[in-house]
Symmetry: D2
Subunit: 245 residues, 4 copies
Amino acid sequence: MIKVTVWNEFIHETKSEKVKAIYPNGIHKLIADFLACDDISVRTATLNMPECGLTKEVLDDTDVLIWWAHVAHDKVPDEIAFRVRDAVNSGMGIIFLHSAHLSKPFRYLLGTACNLCWRESGDSERLWVIEPGHPIAQGLDRFIEIPADETYGEPFGIPNPDKTVFIGTYSGGEVFRSGVCFERLNGKIFYFQPGHETFPIYYQAEIQKVIKNAVRWAAPNAPRRSLSCPNVRFPSDKEKGYVKQ
Amino acid sequence: MIKVTVWNEFIHETKSEKVKAIYPNGIHKLIADFLACDDISVRTATLNMPECGLTKEVLDDTDVLIWWAHVAHDKVPDEIAFRVRDAVNSGMGIIFLHSAHLSKPFRYLLGTACNLCWRESGDSERLWVIEPGHPIAQGLDRFIEIPADETYGEPFGIPNPDKTVFIGTYSGGEVFRSGVCFERLNGKIFYFQPGHETFPIYYQAEIQKVIKNAVRWAAPNAPRRSLSCPNVRFPSDKEKGYVKQ
Amino acid sequence: MIKVTVWNEFIHETKSEKVKAIYPNGIHKLIADFLACDDISVRTATLNMPECGLTKEVLDDTDVLIWWAHVAHDKVPDEIAFRVRDAVNSGMGIIFLHSAHLSKPFRYLLGTACNLCWRESGDSERLWVIEPGHPIAQGLDRFIEIPADETYGEPFGIPNPDKTVFIGTYSGGEVFRSGVCFERLNGKIFYFQPGHETFPIYYQAEIQKVIKNAVRWAAPNAPRRSLSCPNVRFPSDKEKGYVKQ
Amino acid sequence: MIKVTVWNEFIHETKSEKVKAIYPNGIHKLIADFLACDDISVRTATLNMPECGLTKEVLDDTDVLIWWAHVAHDKVPDEIAFRVRDAVNSGMGIIFLHSAHLSKPFRYLLGTACNLCWRESGDSERLWVIEPGHPIAQGLDRFIEIPADETYGEPFGIPNPDKTVFIGTYSGGEVFRSGVCFERLNGKIFYFQPGHETFPIYYQAEIQKVIKNAVRWAAPNAPRRSLSCPNVRFPSDKEKGYVKQ
């Protein structure tokens, strides 16, 4: 059983009638609903909860964290953002959606500005599969079409990805590395660009399939890794009593 | 002319007679002295200066920053560490020496714990050249021998390097990725392991050569990069007035 | 069920009494025997079989190919070596052992000379785990000790690995990237250095564990990928009849 | 002085009136003409010359080789293709243009099928700069517009690039990783997609700038690397007479 926590800042859905009409219970609830299945259990957490709902106990009990945020990145305290970073280093998988490219955990894990160009013009988007053999791309056609999304354009301020699974193009002519993978010690990271809050993108079957694939890909396959810096003894042939990790 | 700033926390040299005997003017002064030459100009900065000596003006005027630190990583305010990170993203090169693996700028740029195993037993070290074609390895033999250094051992908690230039092995049997390269947007990063403060390692000719090579490698080759997130207009054939970066 | 084919040039074991005494039925038989289990089925193939035992039918029916070779690399026709390369591109995993670093399939997949320095002096080796979270390193301690092996030394003429799982050090002082991962389209590649034919290294429990872990890691997780270069129609909004792959 | 050799199969320009009208002296001559300058000297070579014009002497005297080919990839003997591969491993830079993605040297260096989807419909192309800090992208705007080119589409059968400098998008909606960098030992590799023979693309100033930038980026910065596999002596403290490379 893969334990997923879906985190959402949950602001647009309470303040904008347009967004509320699309996601009446919040984006996090919709994502939680389509993910839950025989091998995936899901809980949710939001910005307004104590410690943003991301206590050490919650992170220790999370295999994959999903992050949606847009207008309140700075409301997440550094202490919580570093805690998420450390959990990923230890082995927790994490999936960043859409405007989470500017969230603290994404930027603190990648070490870059994660900036991009953008435009809200309702362009349609075509997401091309670049790596058809990647676990996240299984069950898809050559591309996914999204009728309308916010446009994101290059240059995207990220390190060279370990793998670029999707590249999107927009009716306005931009391109964007829309699905990219990274690793930070034992933890896997996937950034997936679709999902502006004013369009019903997370209802689209292919988008749901990508996120579900990504959860299974990002789930840890090793025990949590120690982040300590141990003093070790001499592992020579004569003195075998070295410290084990 | 490459403008280098050598930063040192400058604590051991003021508190330990042993270290003071080796580096009477501080590690930073010795490094500054051997770097200065026709195409490299050097200034120094230390922890006890206002803003750690790393004002925005200094960083804007620095091509390559060198960082030595050990016992006072937490004394560098996050604000300064993020400022260094952003300068690297914009294009400033940076070289981290020895125990700077736990410095805030290194960890904030890499996004990982940067932990390792260690032992102070005066092991000798042999630094093997793994990439003989890399600019940082030019002018070296197959390996460098260091009579005595602190032992650093794997696993080293870093992301997969873009290039591993040196791997060290110690008389106690450990191995360590002693010279590794990364990039973060326009900025080049080199970590180089030798240099414990109680041994005169920075007087060794091959070590000086490596650091000088690294300065030339890390010097920027493009204008400083914008880290902003601009709203852009429609770049279609009919409406060419797109925003230029 | 993962279908493994173990390929061996099978020459030393027929010509050298010393090697025959260690591997009386050939290295391939020993590897086949320790791999076979509930989820892994194994067959073997050798150089002296028609088409080296690697017909298109055999490769199509192989999930992971294991390759041991030393003195007869050039006896494998280019046609067979390219067939193996293409099978890996399509999705077959492959594990190269010890002196297979100079085999045609390894060199043709990596595109480099794959040269190294070597010495037969019976040095002991310590294989350090560099990536404790990697699937291939699961169930191991901090390092594996091998009482005697051929020494391999850097520089190892390979592209920058996607992941360095093991680095070995020898009693003579060399280091070597002993366990490295690559990908070529849908296929995963693992090179593992231990296994000189004059020492009983493949009887060692940790070595067997590494190879078994590597088989499970390298097994394909997607359908075989087409290597064709298709002419495609116009995928515009008006004409949706694009070619599907 | 960087010594460039421009290689062209030189077939379309002799057989097609349309192509001859655009490149009356061959694509190679046009490229040679715009490259030649104070720090770049250029010679050309074509398929119909003895040894394809690529003798060992020519390759030893070439810093950067440029490769254009389309319909006669198989006319280049494996022996020549491997010679080119080895020269790159030793340190020669190489730039592959357009349909050279299926040339033997490109495929033998990358180890993959290098296949893609394509269409000859005269789509316009917009080449976006993904890495504005990369040496190959200096002096360019946010994108380059090409009025008409052959369409190349993903998935492009290459290993994960070390750096993706350009991503192209076409008026038909495809995307393509149009400018990608790799390294193979000491040699740098750049693939650049524009340049179908029926359009005057190599006359475009921005395209010329990219190729000239790429030549300077790919020029070697170290002595040629040995590809031999030397037997080495024991480099212990007592016996220092190890083999030097």
